[in-house]
């Protein structure tokens, strides 16, 4: 895209001899704090616990022992598991991208009634806990289920479909966010010169979207490669991945050596995907600057072949892949031993016979924990985004900033069980302090925040980067103090993205189950935990109540996303 190729003004002004005012950093102390606080957080609650537990696997009697690598790689199963992980992730990514691109077009380049609701709806799967999705998905696919005839239950295909189900939204949002900002003039010019719509798509639009697509693809690859519950519930150990293998070796066999080796293997895969994502994103974020805040959407025209294809693909995907399992969940939640009714929902109000809390109370706990997690994630993620959005002049400082960005993405790719077990062995006296955090509700919020921080960074950062540095310079020249520059320029522009980040961090924390399920918990369980416990008991009432609680969780999530969705349009938003 020609406009995107124009150079970054920042680079020019910085290098050029222009009458640039002297830099006015808000003081070294301020930036040190902005870097220090997130680093301290990540070190204390991620790097240190992970090193503690992985370290145990590599230390024998206090000496470093890397013999585990030889042993683990000598097992044929290891190679099969690594191969399966890569195959599942690759296919899941391909599916999400192929289906997601038409979805991105329809939801961000076209206008129609209910678009906002549809955008919120496609996001729900991304934040549903796997326990729920397992029930919803498998009961469709099992013999005698609505789609039982397809023979998909327990197959590789079922896992890939579920991975697409979870990650479709990532592609739609990342690519869509970019697409709606894309300057339509290049496409119009190509059309005017006689190119067919397909040719324009192939030669103009898709190349321009390339970085966004690559960025989304690597994120999805990351999520797919580290999928855990989905794989176990839908495929069992037959289709084990590196992640499920780490879980089994750690929790069931206490083979920390094998788990540590596998963690390193996973880290290598993850860092590879992140490096790819980082490069792709760098290009996305540079191109963004010149995008015209969009008024690019047009009403859906079914006669236009592009629109028609987008509508068909999206209807099939949203209706078949996304809606069917969710609808199945709702329908089943309405079924009671006495026929159809709301009994299961009524049961949510009373403490389940053996759970001391009702589902509503648990939902309250979930919301409160999510508030904590969101606040932590916003502060930490916001600071990271702020620091990373700056482009220091020295190459070494630039590399440091890029490194910081990558570092905070790692929690998305490191096994939840590694982090959870790391917490167990390191949080009895965090940073040497005499506080046992392991049974504290604070740690649950912290664990959720660790997961949400990368999403906050990815949402806020592109917007901060899109701010023309000259605006800050102008403000500074006019005498604004550094803090004031931050407030009037950065914060004002980033506010909508912050709102969006808040929504996603909140929704992700609400449904988070993986990390918290490994943590010590006090008496107050969260909603996903209550669902899990209800499903762990026999009896139609428990089953029904679990389904109703799942619908409640899905509705809460969709509601939060929908509210934040309204903050988003029509201008710049995040690109995760």
């Amino acid at each position: 895209m020609p406009t995107a190729l124009a150079d970054r003004p920042a680079a020019r002004t910085a290098a050029g001899p222009s009458a640039r005012p002297p830099r006015r950093w808000p003081g070294r102390a301020g930036w040190a704090l902005a870097v220090g606080v997130p680093l301290l957080f990540l070190t204390a609650f991620f790097v240190w616990p992970v090193l503690e537990i992985v370290g145990r696997g590599f230390l024998t009697d206090g000496r470093l022992d890397l013999g585990g690598f030889g042993d683990v790689f000598a097992r044929p199963r290891t190679w099969r598991v690594v191969g399966q992980t890569l195959a599942q992730a690759a296919l899941g990514t391909a599916g999400a991208v192929l289906l997601g691109i038409p979805g991105a077009y329809l939801l961000y380049r076209c206008r129609f009634r209910g678009r906002g609701a549809l955008r919120a709806f496609v996001t729900v799967p991304f934040v549903l806990p796997t326990v729920v999705v397992g029930v919803a998905f498998r009961s469709l696919l099992v013999d005698g289920g609505l789609l039982g005839g397809l023979g998909l239950d327990g197959t590789f295909a079922a896992i890939v479909l579920a991975l697409v189900f979870f990650n479709y939204a990532v592609v739609v949002r990342t690519v869509g966010g970019m697409w709606e900002r894309l300057d339509p003039r290049a496409e119009q010019a190509a059309r005017a010169l006689g190119a067919s719509p397909w040719r324009v798509l192939r030669t103009v639009t898709l190349p321009a979207l390339g970085p966004a697509i690559a960025s989304a693809a690597s994120l999805v690859f990351l999520f797919c490669a580290t999928a855990f519950g989905t794989v176990l519930v839908l495929g069992g150990r037959r289709y084990g991945t590196v992640e499920t293998e780490i879980w089994i070796q750690t929790t069931q066999f206490l083979d920390l050596r094998a788990a540590a080796v596998l963690s390193v293997v996973q880290l290598v895969v993850v860092v590879g995907a992140l490096a790819f994502a980082g490069r792709a994103r760098a290009r996305t974020e540079r191109a963004l600057t010149l995008g015209v805040p969009s008024v690019t959407a047009h009403p859906v025209r079914l006669r236009d072949p592009l629109d028609a294809v987008a509508v068909v693909v999206t209807v099939v995907t949203a209706g078949g892949l996304l809606a069917l399992p969710l609808l199945n969940l709702v329908i089943r939640s309405l079924r009671t031993p006495r026929g159809w009714g709301l009994d299961n929902y009524a049961a949510l109000g009373v403490p389940q016979d053996t759970l001391a809390v009702s589902a509503w109370q648990a939902a309250g706990t979930s919301v409160r924990t999510a508030v904590d997690a969101t606040l932590i994630a916003l502060v930490v993620g916001g600071l990271v985004a702020l620091v990373v959005s700056r482009r220091p002049r020295t190459p070494s400082a630039r590399r440091a900033v890029a490194g910081l960005d990558a570092l905070f993405m790692l929690p998305l790719g490191v096994s939840a069980v590694t982090v959870g077990f790391g917490f167990l062995v390191s949080m009895d006296a965090p940073l040497g302090l005499p506080v046992d955090l392991r049974a504290s509700p604070v740690l649950v919020a912290v664990a959720q925040a660790v997961v949400a921080v990368p999403l906050v960074v990815r949402t806020v950062l592109p917007v901060l980067r899109a701010i023309d540095p000259r605006q800050r310079e102008v403000a500074a020249t006019l005498g604004a103090a550094p803090g004031r520059v931050l407030r009037t320029v950065d914060l004002a522009v980033a506010l909508r993205a912050v709102g969006l980040a808040l929504g996603f961090a909140f929704a992700v924390s609400l449904g988070e189950f993986g990390a918290t399920s490994f943590l010590a918990r006090p008496q107050e369980p969260t909603l996903p935990v209550v669902i899990f416990r209800l499903l762990g008991r026999p009896g139609a009432e428990n089953y029904g109540a679990a389904l109703a609680a799942s619908v409640l969780l899905a509705a809460l999530t969709a509601g939060v996303v929908a509210v934040c969705e309204r903050l988003r349009r029509p201008g710049i938003g995040g690109a995760w």
């Binding site: 006495r338 009895d428 004002a492 808040l502």
Partner: protein, 366 residues
Amino acid sequence: MATPSPRRSPDVRRAALGAATCAALLTLTACSATGGATPDATPGGAGSVTLVTHESFALSEGLLEQFEEDSGLDVQVVQQADSGALVNQLVLTKDAPLGDLVYGIDNAFASRALDEGVVVASELTAPAATDAAAYAVPGDDAGALTAIDFGDVCLNVDTAWFAEQGVPEPTTLDSLLDPAYRDLVVVPDPVTSSPGLAFLLASVGAFGEEGWVDYWAGLRDNGLKVADGWTEAYYTDFTAGGGDGPRPVVVSYASSPPFTVPEGGDAPTTRALLDTCFRQVEYAGVLAGAANPEGAARLLDFLLSDEVQADVPASMYMYPVSSAVELPDDWTRWAPLADAPFDVAPADIATHRERWLTQWSDTVIG
């Protein structure tokens, strides 16, 4: 100009308003977990005792509160994953124990807990302590682990399904090899599920070191389905679990049938096959290095008290070890125990568990 002046943009104002509303809502919803509830900051302190247990721990409302009132102790409950993972977590945290008392170590993992020294013996005064002694882990002469409850993991069949289809119900482990039961059985994976492991042990007890692998190869060839956990097997694959699955034979508990009494009906629609069972015993023990070992011992006594023992069937779906309490009516009618469950010595389990699981995986999962 890439970005309009922030001051004048209505979008920004709306966004600011939205974000502020969102934040305000969040704050109003009830502050936060830490702000809302104020948990005891010093679990394990003088007046408090921390119980470390598995996901399935539950007592009827008020019981634990009554104990707190009577004893003056403040009880914290820390719930970890399932029983296998629980023991491993305790081993990992031996130097800084997660609490004072553990409940929920079962006989498949008891030897590991004893070998690793995560529990120590304590003085018990509850009358049911003598009943509990009957379930002591062989070799645990000091009595570091105290049995609290037990249950039989057995095949459950959907009697209604078999009656409808006119097929006779299977009765023994062997009968599942009959082609008549092809594609009818679902079991939870023993590596990822504790009832799954218990059923694997039943087969080891029944067919011995020599025969159990062949038995599973036969099951596999007869269309066995393996689910990830009990939940998936019972709710999704089993015909009578509520999920309308396709398979009428499932691994569950001898105490599951009372839960399948239909609304208004007077008999369950499922039955446990009592010749296919393995007895799971759940133990509690004071953790080595506990901050409050006396409090832990009192809590342990409380778990053996008549109140808790009588509550065990309804809240944890297990049978109490105490002979002094009465079972619920529907249990005496529809949840009888196996006369002679299959048995494998805990020491044998401890030595061979990993190898058995690997062999099982190689045979059944491939």
